[in-house]
C-alpha cells in the first residue's frame, strides 16, 4: 500500500495518529541516544585499568614475597615467605594494606598495625588486582558497617555474639590480649567498622574466619555496633586500665597507691623551712 500525501493528510485526525507520532518520536530519540551515548563497556575498561594498575603496584611492592602471580613463595622447609593470594579476595587486601600490616617491614611472629604505605586509590587498585585472580570476599558494604542503624536489641545481640566468639582473645572490652610465641590479639577499639568486618570475614593471620553463613552480615554489624558502644560508654571508674579487672586494680592501689603515700609521708617528715635567724 502506498501512502500518498493526500492519504496521510486525510488521516491526520485519525484517533491513533497522536499515539503513533509519539511512538515514532520516542523510537527516534532512543535511536539517537543509543548511537551517541557513551558505551556501557567503559565500566569494564575502568576495572581492567584498575587491575592493570594494581598488577604494577603488586609487582613492585608485594611480589618479592607473594610471587609475581601472587601464587606464594615456599621455603625449602615447606613454610612460606608469603602465602598464595589467589582467592583471598578484595576484603583481605583492603584489611592487610589498609591497616598498614602489609607490606611487612620485617619477618616477625606477627605483622603489626602500622603506618599505611599506600593511598586509598592504590589500595583499591591492589584489591582489584588480587580480586581478579580468583573469587573471594569483596570489600564489605553498608550492610556490615552501618552501625548507626543498629537498634538497642541489635547491639545486645551483637554483645552476646562478641562474648561468645571474640572475648577469649580480644578481651571483654576489645582491648586485646597476649597469644603464644610473641603473637597477640590486637586492641580493636579504635579500628574502623570496615576493617573489623574485613577481619571477621577473612580471618587475617592466626585469627579464625567467621563466614557470612555462620555469622550473617547483619550480626557482624551488630557485633561492631557493640564494640563501638563499649568504647563510647563513659568510664565510671575513671581510668579504664584495659578493663583487666579488680585484681589488677587492687594490686595497683595497694602497691603503687599506698606505697606512694608512704613515700610522701616520709618526705613530709624530712622537710620543712628553717631560717638562720634566732
Amino acid at each position: 500500500m502506498r501512502f500518498s500525501v493526500r492519504k496521510l493528510s486525510t488521516r491526520r485526525r485519525h484517533r491513533f495518529a497522536g499515539p503513533l507520532v509519539l511512538l515514532l518520536g520516542l523510537v527516534l530519540a532512543g535511536g539517537v541516544y543509543a548511537a551517541l551515548a557513551p558505551s556501557p563497556a567503559t565500566a569494564e575498561q575502568d576495572t581492567a585499568r584498575e587491575v592493570e594498575a594494581g598488577r604494577q603496584l603488586f609487582e613492585i611492592g608485594c611480589a618479592s614475597c607473594h610471587g609475581l602471580n601472587a601464587e606464594g613463595i615456599e621455603t625449602q622447609r615447606g613454610g612460606n615467605f608469603g602465602p598464595s593470594l589467589i582467592g583471598v579476595g578484595a576484603a583481605a587486601v583492603d584489611f592487610q594494606v589498609g591497616t598498614g600490616r602489609m607490606p611487612m617491614a620485617q619477618t616477625a611472629p606477627q605483622a603489626p598495625r602500622k603506618k599505611v604505605a599506600y593511598d586509598a586509590e592504590e589500595i583499591k587498585q591492589l584489591a582489584a588486582f588480587v580480586a581478579s585472580l580468583g573469587p573471594g570476599p569483596a570489600i564489605p558494604g553498608d550492610d556490615y558497617t552501618d552501625i548507626d542503624s543498629a537498634s538497642i536489641e541489635d547491639v545486645r545481640e551483637g554483645g552476646e555474639i562478641f562474648r561468645t566468639n571474640c572475648t577469649a582473645c580480644h578481651n571483654s572490652v576489645g582491648a586485646g590480649g597476649a597469644m603464644p610465641n610473641g603473637k597477640f590479639a590486637p586492641d580493636i577499639r579504635d579500628v574502623s567498622p570496615k576493617h573489623i568486618a574485613e577481619a571477621m570475614i577473612t580471618g587475617p593471620q592466626q585469627m579464625p574466619g567467621f563466614s557470612d553463613d555462620i555469622i550473617t552480615p547483619e550480626e557482624k554489624r551488630n557485633v561492631i555496633a557493640y564494640v563501638k558502644t563499649l568504647k563510647d560508654s563513659p568510664s565510671y571508674g575513671g581510668l579504664g586500665g584495659g578493663s583487666l579487672g579488680p585484681v589488677v586494680d587492687g594490686v595497683f592501689a595497694w602497691f603503687i597507691g599506698i606505697g606512694g603515700l608512704v613515700v610522701v609521708a616520709v618526705w613530709i617528715g624530712a622537710h620543712g623551712t628553717r631560717v638562720k635567724k634566732k
Partner: protein, 349 residues
Amino acid sequence: MSDLEVRSGHDEPIPNPGLQEHQYRPQDVDPKQARRTERQISAMFLVAAVLFVGFCAVYVFVDADETFLGWSAQNFGFGFTLGGALLLIGIGIIQWAKKLMGDHEIVEMRHSAASSAEDRTAVLADINAGLDESGIGRRPMIVRSLGVALGALGLPALFVLRDMGPLPYGHRNTVWKKGMRVVVDVTGEPIKPSDLRVGDLVNAEPAAFFETDDEGKPLFHGTELLQAKSKAAVIVVRMRPESIRPAKGRENWGIDGILAYSKICTHVGCPISLWEQQTHHLLCPCHQSTFDLADNGKVVFGPAHRPLPQLPLALDSEGYLIATRDFPEIVAPSYPRLAHDQKKLDEQA
C-alpha cells in the same frame, strides 16, 4: 646530771657530739609570717567546707548519665569535691603541725624492754599455782578427752565444706547423642559444611539447647541450661584435610577437614576457644594449656595432661552437621576418680 651527760664520758669510742643547735622556723621568728600561715590554714579548711557543700550540689544537680572528658560527670564531681576537701583538711593539719605547733627536740633514751625480776617471778608463780589447782598433771584423762573433743570439732567443718559443691564424679555423659544437630551458639542456626571455609571457627552448641517441648517451654533453662552448657559446648573448626592426622578409629570423625572438639579445657575446665588457624593450636586463656586439634587434641604445652575430647561428626539427610554419639571421653576438668568414670563410660559404649 642527765642521762645524756653521763653517756658522753670518755668511755665511748666516739665522743657524743650532742644535739645540733636548734634552727628556728620562719613562723617562730616573724609573727607576721605566723599570722599569714594561720590565715592560709584557715583558708584551706574553709575551702574544704565549700567543697563538701559542692558534693551535695553535684548529688542534686548532676545527672547520672552526664559525662565530663569521657568520664561520668557525677563520679568525677564526687571525687573532685570529696577528695579535694579531704586533701585540703589533711594538708592544713600537716601545715598546722609543722609550722605553728610547738617545735623542740626531745631525746628519749633507750632502755631494756624486759619486765623487772620481781614482776617475772610473780607471773610465773601465778601460772604455776593455776596449773597446780587445775590438776592437769594429776588428771590426765580429762586433758586427753578434751583433746578428743576439740579434735572432733573439725568434723562438722569437713561436712559443711563438702556442701560447697558436689564432689566431682559421675560426669560421664553430656546432652550430645546420636543424630543431634550441631548449631551455632547464640543464634541456634544449623551448620552446613559449605558454611565453613578453611580457617573458620564456630562456637557451637547441641541443638537441644534451642528446642522446646510440646508446651513450648525450652528443654533446658536456668541453672540446668548453664550446667548442661558447661559440659556440652563445642568448637567446630575447618582445616585442610591433608593437615589432619587422625588416630586409629577416628578417620571418619570429621567432614572434609571439619572437626568438633569440646570447649572445656581438661585441666580445670575453662572455656577454651583461642584458635590459631595457621598452627592448628587451641590455647586455654587460664593456664596456657595448648592442644593440637590437627593431632586428635593432643596436649602440646601447659598443665593439662589429657587430650581435648573430640565429638564425632556426620551429616543428616538434609546435609547439616550432626553428632554420631556423645563424647567418648569425659568432658570435665581432671579429678581423682576420672579413670574410674572413664572405665564406666567405655563399658556403656
